[in-house]
């Protein structure tokens, strides 16, 4: 049976190549069907018969979208019949139709988010319920059959909900065309790990189904290669150390644990941003422009900025569909207006902001997984962002008194390092095998830290030798240089494509050879499972 567990496999490349060939040889109308067929084939290869969840979700939003649209049209038609003078009547009519739309949306959210909650969080809920029952001394245990969760459900559910909210807010029109909506929901490169697209981002590009262009093919191919490099050379190589230290943290001192937290942060970034390179590159081949999910997050000066640069589409989803709707709700708006008058411009909106931010970070933590360490991860960032806002005026005063220029490069560098350390701490808890393990590991960094480990050969215990560390160092520096150039506004892929064709291909071959020679595969290496596909 065709089975794909990762983008970094021969099977994925074969499926992508086959999709390109069939897509190209068919005429426009058929190309759309070819794309949908390959999308469902890919999903089937990843999740088997669970593809039915994706199809049901698509059918559901197609129907609910049209339902909303019909209610909106009916409301407009009835309002148009009323004269200008009938203001009260119009208001009452609008309110009644708005109520109807809200009922439909409540039903839709319960259906889609409820399905996600049921499939993903039931075992976590049952586990905690059993712990609570045992705590009270009752010996009863709830037993649960294994629930199969379709890969990518956390991603496509958010896409579905965003689509319906956009129809409800009349930002977009409900799509009556089931094929176009199915393509938007199921487009195969992005179905497993995002990016979380809005209907207005991709539906039109997918529907156009343009012929494959040479420049798109080359640019997409470049991006895929770069993603492979990040994953196979770096993320998989680091896996040896990370797997061992997180599972046997009792055997290691604080230095190794701190190093492991840094390595895991690098691994997570290389794995997820590398996957995004493969995904966005694959889509580019078909002329589909997916939104970027990473904007060089390790140049962030605050945690708040970090989350505007890391997993961007998840952050904007939470901002648009949770943070602003909550903070703009009537009770919180009233709170803001009152608090502003008493507490001023800075602290006034903080109260409403904190309530909305708390909800965002609970959702963010839980979205990543059903576990207390994920909830802690969310709360950790909530506290850091809130603290950042609370102490900002004091921090400005302190730096002014110390004559530190906040826009100076050394101060910015200090902020970047501080943010990176905080991110690494958060990721330590995120990856730890349970919350207790996370705390024990964190404690060891402060109570059992010694540089002696650098010399006693511990670092070569994980199956990694000196060459591995050199390759990691060189690759990280290489990616850092590329990131600095991008941060300065340079478009590296564009500048490569302007070069002589011989130079262009020399660069591609060099990158391919780099991956083949320095890739961490075979031997001791165990490739890391696609981390975000599990969410």
């Amino acid at each position: 049976m065709l089975s794909i567990s990762t983008y970094y496999s021969l099977q994925y490349l074969l499926l992508l190549s086959a999709a390109v060939v069939f897509y190209e040889i068919f005429p426009l109308r058929a190309r759309r069907w070819v794309m949908l067929l390959f999308s469902y084939l890919f999903f089937f290869a990843v999740s088997g018969k669970l593809v039915c969840y994706l199809i049901l979700s698509t059918l559901s939003i197609h129907h609910i979208g049209i339902w909303l649209s019909d209610v909106q049209a009916e409301s407009k038609a009835k309002l148009a019949l009323l004269g200008k003078e009938a203001k009260e009547e119009k208001k009452a009519l609008s309110a009644s139709y708005l109520h109807k739309q809200r009922c439909i949306m409540t039903f839709a959210v319960i259906l889609h988010v409820g399905m996600l909650l049921m499939l993903k969080y039931t075992p976590f809920a049952v586990e905690n319920l059993n712990a609570l029952i045992h705590f009270t001394g009752i010996s009863y245990t709830f037993r649960l059959k294994k629930i199969l969760v379709p890969i990518g459900i956390s991603f496509y559910t958010l896409q579905a909900v965003a689509y319906l909210f956009d129809v409800y807010r009349q930002k977009i029109e409900a799509d009556k065309n089931l094929l176009r909506l199915s393509l938007f929901m199921g487009f195969f490169p992005q179905i497993m790990e995002g990016p979380i697209c809005r209907y207005s981002d991709t539906a039109e590009d997918l529907w156009k189904a343009e012929r494959i262009r040479y420049d798109n093919l080359i640019a997409g191919g470049q991006r895929i290669l770069f993603g492979f490099m990040k994953k196979i050379v770096l993320a998989d190589r680091l896996n040896l150390l990370i797997k061992d230290v997180f599972s046997k943290y009792d055997d290691y001192d604080g230095f190794v644990i701190a190093l492991c937290a840094i390595c895991y942060t690098i691994q997570l970034y290389m794995d997820f941003s590398g996957t995004m390179d493969v995904v966005i590159g694959s889509a580019q081949i078909f002329g589909v422009k997916l939104p970027e999910n990473f904007k060089r997050p390790f140049f962030s000066t605050t945690i708040s900025e970090f989350w505007k640069r890391w997993h961007v589409t998840l952050g904007t989803f939470f901002k648009d569909y949770i943070f602003f709707p909550l903070s703009m709700s009537k009770p919180l708006k009233k709170l803001t207006t009152k608090a502003r008058k008493k507490l001023g411009n800075h602290f006034g909106p903080l109260l409403a902001g904190a309530v909305a931010l708390f909800c965002v970070w609970i959702c963010n933590g839980l979205w990543h997984g059903a576990g207390w360490n994920y909830i802690f991860f969310g709360m950790f960032h909530f506290v850091l962002i809130l603290l950042g806002s609370i102490i900002e005026p004091a921090a400005i005063k302190v730096t002014q008194k110390l004559h530190i220029k906040r826009t100076s490069k050394p101060y910015k560098f200090f902020q970047i390092i501080r943010t990176t350390i905080l991110v690494c701490i958060g990721e330590l808890f995120f990856r730890a095998e349970g919350l207790t393990a996370g705390f024990k590991m964190f404690k060891k960094i402060f109570t059992n830290f010694t540089f002696a480990t650098l010399k006693d050969g511990t670092l070569f215990q994980f199956g990694m030798d000196k060459q591995d560390y050199i390759i990691i160092g060189v690759s990280v520096i290489l990616i850092l240089i590329i990131s600095i150039l991008q941060e300065r506004g340079m478009h590296i892929r564009e500048s490569i494509s302007k070069r002589n064709i011989a130079i262009q291909f020399a660069i591609y071959y060099a990158l391919i050879l780099f991956i083949i020679i320095f890739g961490a595969y075979g031997g001791n290496y165990v490739p890391v499972d696609p981390i975000y596909a599990g969410f």
């Binding site: 009349q170 930002k171 708040s304 709707p325 903070s327 703009m328 708006k333 411009n345 909106p349 409403a352």
Partner: protein
């Protein structure tokens, strides 16, 4: 452009040239908390309701765009 709007903006976030700046959101002059404050203030001042769908960078990147949005919402009643 309405002078009162500029006053509100300067009250919320001073030291920005609101007559010329067109990247208030893109360049982080106004953060999410400032937007919460601003929306509450604009609704009270101009007797409008700003729905969540209007809270997009395009509407808040410049004072001019904000003014256009306010006028539009006033017309829509």
């Amino acid at each position: 452009m309405d002078e009162r709007l500029i006053e509100i903006l300067e009250d919320i976030q001073p030291e920005v040239d609101y007559l010329t700046c067109t990247t208030l959101i893109d360049d982080h002059y106004l953060n999410s908390l400032a937007i919460i404050s601003l929306v509450a203030e604009l609704e009270e001042e101009y007797d409008i309701t700003i729905p969540t769908v209007e809270i997009i960078p395009e509407n808040f990147n410049s004072a001019e765009n904000m003014w256009k949005m306010i006028q539009r919402l006033q017309e829509e009643g």
